[in-house]
Symmetry: C2
Subunit: 234 residues, 2 copies
DNA sequence: GACTACGTTAAACATCTGTTTTAAACTTTT
DNA sequence: AAAAGTTTAAAACAGATGTTTAACGTAGTC
């Protein structure tokens, strides 16, 4: 214990190189699609060092997640957006557009957290709990709060939850089923312009229901609490 | 060539056993998540026989797809539904409910085609083209025709396409992200009752926009053709 | 200056997976 | 019944991947 930081410079260098390479590789291929050998090759480091420094592949992956998920710059965009004092509907529009942007983002730099999440969604690892609890759940709650405002319901109401899923489902669809979409709708190349069109559509599509619901139930407001499926869940 | 059907009984027996086992295994784990050994074990057949009868794993998979995709009983439900002379909105409701049912279906018997499609969506194989062209595209076109009726647009209009994607995205979301949903919304156990609730919500959510669009553009009707992204694509 | 602790390296290990080989068993033909 | 062709079986092969080993070198320490 007293011998904490000795060759720390070199050690941290290796650890850091591995973490950075692992982040890059994992965002590209997800946990299952990535190999230790590829990570070490990119880090210019011996294969055995993953096991020496992190134990095994899963712990390296977990460490990458730990770093990425709590990196404030990764989440900033969303929380900043939701904290703004704008019309809820406008915030929702921007939220959808931002999510779309992050989802379609490749390589460029930073903000690749969403790529990790997408891979985790598509093929969960034992780290799914961490990803959901630390990254997805908070965002999801903020989205529900926003929707709750528009709907005039509790954030924990089943309807609010269903609407949140409807919106998220629409957006992620374009990321996860890109190969199929490319074949089904070849003209959709997902240029920035087309991405805006899609994001705009999803906002329109969703707001139609949200508005209609609000005006239909404008008399009830807070009367209606969480119904049907039970109490809230964090 | 003239020696077509000789030991056909035994041969076809093995082929058939393999195909049936492969279908079961592939629907559970998809192409990548399934192994030849598991398939042969279930078929009570030697490992080498996959390569003897089908060449390799991919050809076995392709053969399974070929059978499944053109099996009329698999598609019947949808085409029957869409052919009915009911109110378009009602058909859409049923369509969503049916899709939801098929997506959540596990094991029981038959109608497992959707499971194969879902796996193919999540992690495409070289057979993706076949799956899209023979199975997804026709269904998708029928859905677009239906939406076109409600919207008062061409089935090839960008808006129609976007709406189709919105609906499909919402539904598939519940299948592909089940592990996350389970953690995000533990009360949603996807019992038959809850599945109805979800399907019903998706229909309401979607129809809100479709109706609004129709009444908003009720003056234009067929004036508006395929805009923006170009001509249709089959 | 020998000793110890730590980081690194090359190589091997263990396992899993698709595929192939070789010979035996079986069926059909002559 | 013998020959020829076809199907099956056991085993091995080849490649990839996560993991471990054992030797090596370089500090810092007594």
């Amino acid at each position: 214990m007293a011998s904490g930081a000795r060759q720390s410079a070199a050690v941290d260098e290796t650890r850091s190189k591995l973490l950075r390479a692992a982040f890059a590789v994992f965002t590209e291929g997800g946990y299952h699609g990535s190999t230790i050998r590829e990570i070490c090759k990119r880090a210019n480091v011996n294969i055995a060092l993953v096991n020496y420094h992190f134990g095994d592949k899963l712990e390296l992956y977990t460490e990458v997640l730990r770093y990425t998920m709590k990196d404030p710059t990764q989440i900033r965009g969303f929380t900043d957006l939701l904290a703004q004092d704008l019309e809820p509907e406008l915030i929702l529009r921007q939220f959808i557009r931002l999510m779309m942007n992050r989802i379609m983002q490749r390589r460029e730099q930073g903000h690749l957290q969403m790529q990790l999440i997408l891979h985790e969604l598509a093929r969960p690892t034992p780290a799914i709990a961490r990803v959901v609890d630390e990254s997805i759940k908070p965002l999801h709650q903020q989205l529900r709060s926003l929707l709750a405002q528009i709907l005039g319901l509790s954030p924990d109401d089943d309807k609010t939850r269903l609407c949140a899923q409807s919106i998220v489902g629409q957006v992620i669809h374009y990321a996860h089923h890109a190969p199929v979409l490319a074949r089904l709708w070849p003209e959709l190349k997902m240029t920035p312009t087309q991405m805006d069109m899609v994001a705009s559509h999803i906002a329109d599509f969703s707001l139609a229901y949200l508005r209609a619901f609000r005006s239909e139930h404008s008399g009830e407001r807070v009367e209606r609490k969480e119904k049907k499926s039970g109490r809230s869940s964090g």
